[in-house]
């Protein structure tokens, strides 16, 4: 310690000094802070503006979660070595906006499958598909050369105005749920695919919903170019009271209970109600998003078939829907071809991939429904596409066995992928011991077809129409007998239909020309006893 610690200072009088301020509000202090404050407020404000314009009334944190999830997924899928749309290249392609579509110049197809999904979820919930399985299915589609078409293209195809290449597919998602978009879109982005969302308008308008997509999100979907929309009704996806005791039913298939007036709806009121929803949901979507809405997906895949109190509903609903839309979508049934063809009618059918289907499973289902060329030899493998319309069916790879269930008198199966067959001779080797064996031709679906029915000493050429069965012609022939390896056949040539026994025509009739494939049926008045085995089936073009 030295003297330098102790400089001498004069003593000041504290009370003679001026009051001081303890803050500094000079310009070079205030200005930067004012700038920063304005900047921060502007940033926060625009954050909410962006959130609002992209995610609408979706809660903020949920929006952030979706945004992060989407981008992460997109990068993850792009780098995924299993991705058939080769990894990094597609990332760059997507980032720089170059379409990743390959120019597949294959032949055009006569039938297009449509897939129907609902939500794509993180963990199995018993009905919806998981993201992982969905991704597997989409990878498989891409790898097998399937390409998505737009709803517009599908529409043109169904109207017969536009050809689409082989392996064209339309992918749809019902309900307009957030989980139909956010897990799916990154996969579509990396694979260069697109889809259609069927919007429930009441869902869309649910303020703050974390389940349904908001208007802004739908608008963004449309702007991405990967999505189109259709109507899934405004009010048709919630349960409605259909009687005094309060049971609930479907909006589009049941008359409702009018609680205020304590009575059931009349038929006219039913018609007005469904017509109003069909029209209003379309016009609202069109006005909101400025896009044409020409298709409708029936809620629950029910256009009246599941009615509890109004058997006429199907007719009325289809009539009314047809007034508003070009196409009405239902889920594929056991009695219909799974692919859609021009001129098939107002209803288009959709395959609903199972939550547990692998990509391979999906491809097998698609290949079984793919249009089959003529001539054709059946091989009776489980993947061939035999649709068991009723009764029980087994396929061994060598033969097809068809039997009625214990309480029934018949069984029937049709061959998928044969919708537009025409002018052919189908010959089968069938074995049965009692009752009638039938070979079907001109099969529109399992309710509309022509058939040759063989029983002891008798052949009947009959037509199954919307109004029931009609016998067109019949003939007695002693040589016709049940037993092993009988040769039965049906020939359809223009307006002439003939039945063949051992390769020779035994009866003929004329009827309007009708396209369609083949099927097998068996009938026995003794309940549970109908049984036929088919060991060969060859269809040759005339």
């Amino acid at each position: 310690m030295g003297d330098h610690y102790h400089p001498r200072y004069p003593l000041g009088n504290p009370l003679t000094h001026k009051a001081m301020r303890h803050y500094d509000l000079s310009v070079n202090k205030v200005l930067p802070m004012a700038f920063l404050t304005v900047l921060l407020v502007a940033l926060v404000n625009s954050t909410f503006r962006i959130q609002r314009s992209n995610y609408g009334h979706t809660p903020f944190f949920k929006s952030v979660e979706y945004a992060a999830q989407e981008e992460l997924d997109f990068v993850r899928y792009s780098l995924d070595p299993k991705n058939p749309n080769k990894g990094v290249a597609s990332l760059f392609a997507a980032v720089f906006g170059m379409g990743a579509k390959e120019g597949t110049t294959t032949a055009e197809t006569s039938g297009v499958p449509v897939l129907a999904y609902h939500r794509v979820v993180d963990a199995p919930d018993g009905s919806n598909i998981t993201t992982e399985t969905f991704r597997d299915q989409m990878y498989a589609l891409k790898a097998a050369g399937w390409n998505t078409i737009t709803l517009k293209e599908f529409n043109g195809f169904i109207k017969g105005e536009k050809d689409v290449p082989e392996k064209s597919i339309l992918i749809t998602f019902d309900d307009g749920a957030k989980e139909s978009l956010y897990p799916v879109d990154p996969i579509f982005r990396t694979l260069g695919m697109n889809g259609v969302a069927y919007i429930i308008l009441n869902g869309m308008d649910t303020e703050g919903s974390t389940y349904y997509l908001s208007k802004e999100e739908i608008q963004n979907m449309l702007e991405s170019g990967r999505w189109e929309i259709g109507s899934h009704s405004r009010n048709g996806h919630t349960p409605h009271t259909i009687n005094e005791t309060g049971d609930s039913g479907h909006f589009f298939s049941d008359k409702l209970w009018l609680a205020n007036e304590k009575r059931m709806e009349t038929e006219a009121e039913f018609r007005a109600r469904v017509a109003q929803d069909l029209a209003e949901s379309r016009s609202t979507l069109e006005e909101t998003f400025k896009v044409p809405v020409t298709t409708f997906a029936f809620p629950f895949g029910d256009s009246g078939e599941e009615t509890q109190n109004f058997p006429n509903s199907t007719r009325i609903v289809i009539e009314e829907a047809q007034k508003v839309y070009d196409i009405g979508f239902l889920q594929a049934r056991r009695d219909e071809y799974t692919f859609n063809h021009p001129g098939r009618g107002f209803i288009a059918y959709r395959i609903e991939p199972g939550a547990e289907w692998s990509g391979e499973d999906l491809l097998a289902v698609l290949s079984s429904g793919s249009p089959k060329g003529l001539s054709y030899t059946a091989h009776f493998s489980p993947e061939e596409g035999w649709i068991p319309s009723w009764g029980s069916m087994s396929l061994s790879g060598k033969e097809l066995s068809l039997g009625s269930i214990p309480e029934a008198s018949s069984a029937s199966a049709i061959l998928n992928g044969a919708y537009d067959w025409d002018n052919y001779t189908a010959e089968a080797t069938a074995s049965w011991t009692d009752g009638n064996a039938l070979i079907l031709g001109d099969v529109t679906n399992s309710r509309l077809y022509r058939a040759c029915s063989y029983s002891d000493g008798m052949v009947r050429l009959q037509a199954q129409t919307a109004d029931g069965p009609v016998v067109l012609a019949k003939a007695s022939n002693e040589s016709i007998q049940d037993g092993a390896s009988r040769k039965i056949g049906i020939k359809t040539s223009g307006t002439t239909i003939s039945c063949l026994w051992n390769g020779a025509v035994v009866v003929s009739a004329t009827a309007p020309n009708q396209k369609g494939g083949v099927g097998i049926q068996v009938w026995n008045p003794k309940l549970g006893k109908a049984q036929v085995t088919v060991s060969s089936l060859v269809i040759t073009k005339n």
Binding site: M1, R8, A19, R21, Y23, D24, L40, V44, F48
Partner: protein, 432 residues
């Protein structure tokens, strides 16, 4: 400090810009995130005005601290104004630190004839007295006067402080804790504020001496730094620092004397007050005068290095905070309206925070099954903001872990206030 060549100066400036620019950027990113988070939660709290109000107020309060601290201006030193000072150090069983504490009084850049040292041995049972006497002889040539007062029986810190005030012959009393060490420029920067007659007390800036001992002391280092350089600086803008702490603060003797006796025998709820002496003294001052903060007057203090001691100390502080805040509430409304608004806001926030915590962390998760993510993220962001400020101002010293530690400790610290209310009359943890 050694001289730098212009090139080195330029380099070091560049490093400083880069070294600070990035954390500053993140500092404002955190503020942005906090604002977004708050705006979102405010919307969802529409139907519970109380919690919405809390959420809004705590954000305004904390951000206002940084804003006010930014506008805080230190006084300019007038070489013609050098009032005489008396260091007052009461000590009990402090043989390890007391010599160094006192030695530094002779080592200050201040006129020696204006320095007086009064050390009070408050009934120590160790060698504190011997250490005091030894160091008194050592410094005697470098100061005007040294006095060692020896009490064989312990009377308490407040009595020691009061004794120092009475025995002091100089204008400014500087209280230094027996485990605190001052910088050579400390006195100059404390006394310069007293040229304004309104100023009655000046708090120095105390940092943690044993910062690098463990995570707990690192955490306290951040707390100390922020409490002084942000919170006290913010209060100082209005001359309204609510506590000029005993570790290093200066008081104008002339203003203290009139209420010395009242302060010495302060009773609260019928019990003699044996802790929170500094906060209580400041409270007397700010009723009529100003109390300010000098960030240049630096001192260092030893903090508890184990959790048990730390919680006890915090509990003591919370009790005195309770008592003195109650007293301050009776007159604070007369002060500057902005200062008063923030004072009462803070009182509300302190009492409401355990309720908000209970609702966010226990009630809502139990009722809805939603984990309290937003609450904990919000809390973390706030602490992170403080941590970043420390990182910018002090340097990259284990600040992040300390913040994480702080985050966990918040849960414990928050419940100290209700506990302090329950045990307010229990004086067993009185200091010394």
């Amino acid at each position: 400090m050694e001289k730098l060549t212009p090139l080195e100066q330029l380099k070091s400036t560049k490093e400083t810009y880069l070294g600070k620019g990035i954390p500053w950027f993140f500092f404002f990113v955190i503020i942005y995130l906090i604002l977004v988070l708050k705006a979102v939660t405010m919307k969802s709290l529409d139907n519970s005005p109380f919690f919405g109000f809390y959420s809004l107020l705590i954000t305004v309060y904390i951000l206002s601290r940084f804003l006010l601290a930014y506008f805080h201006k230190p006084a300019e030193s007038d070489p013609n104004y050098r009032p005489s000072v008396s260091f007052v150090v009461p000590a009990k069983n402090e043989e390890d630190n007391i010599a160094e504490t006192i030695r530094r009084f002779a080592n200050v850049n201040y006129p020696a004839d204006k320095i007086e040292v009064i050390a009070i041995n408050d009934g120590s049972t160790d060698n504190t007295l011997q250490e005091m006497e030894k160091v008194a002889e050592e410094i005697r040539p470098y100061v005007r006067r040294v006095e060692v007062v020896n009490w064989t029986e312990n009377r308490g810190k407040r009595h020691g402080m009061a004794e120092g005030v009475i025995r002091a012959q100089n204008d400014i009393i500087i209280f230094i804790d027996s485990d605190s060490f001052i910088d050579a420029d400390c006195v100059t920067h404390l006394t310069k504020y007293f040229s304004d007659p309104r100023v009655g007390a000046v708090s120095g800036h105390t940092d943690v001496y044993n910062r690098d001992t463990n995570l707990l002391t690192q955490m306290q280092a951040i707390r100390y730094y922020i409490a002084f350089s942000v919170y006290k600086a913010a209060e100082s803008v209005f001359g309204n620092v609510t506590c000029c702490p005993g570790c290093c603060s200066a008081y104008r003797r002339e203003y203290v004397l009139p209420f010395l006796d009242k302060w010495l025998h302060q009773r609260f709820l019928g019990v003699e007050c044996t802790f929170g002496d500094d906060r209580s003294l400041t409270n007397f001052i700010i009723q009529d005068y100003e109390a300010v903060y000098s960030h240049e007057a630096k001192a260092y203090t030893v903090v508890p290095d184990n959790f048990r001691k730390y919680v006890k100390q915090q509990q003591r502080w919370k009790k005195s905070w309770m008592r003195e805040t109650f007293i301050a509430s009776t007159f604070m409304w007369r002060k500057n309206p902005i200062a008063a608004f923030f004072f009462y806001s803070y009182v509300f926030l302190a009492f409401a925070s355990p309720i908000v915590f209970f609702r966010a962390v226990l009630w809502i998760p139990m009722a809805t099954g939603i984990p309290p993510m937003v609450y904990f993220v919000g809390l973390f962001l706030m602490l992170f903001l403080h941590g970043l400020y420390y990182r910018i101002q002090v340097g990259p010293r284990a600040w992040f872990l300390a913040i994480v530690n702080f985050w966990f400790n918040t849960v414990i610290l928050m419940w100290q206030l209700p506990w302090a209310i329950i045990t307010i009359r229990d004086t067993r943890w009185g200091t010394r």
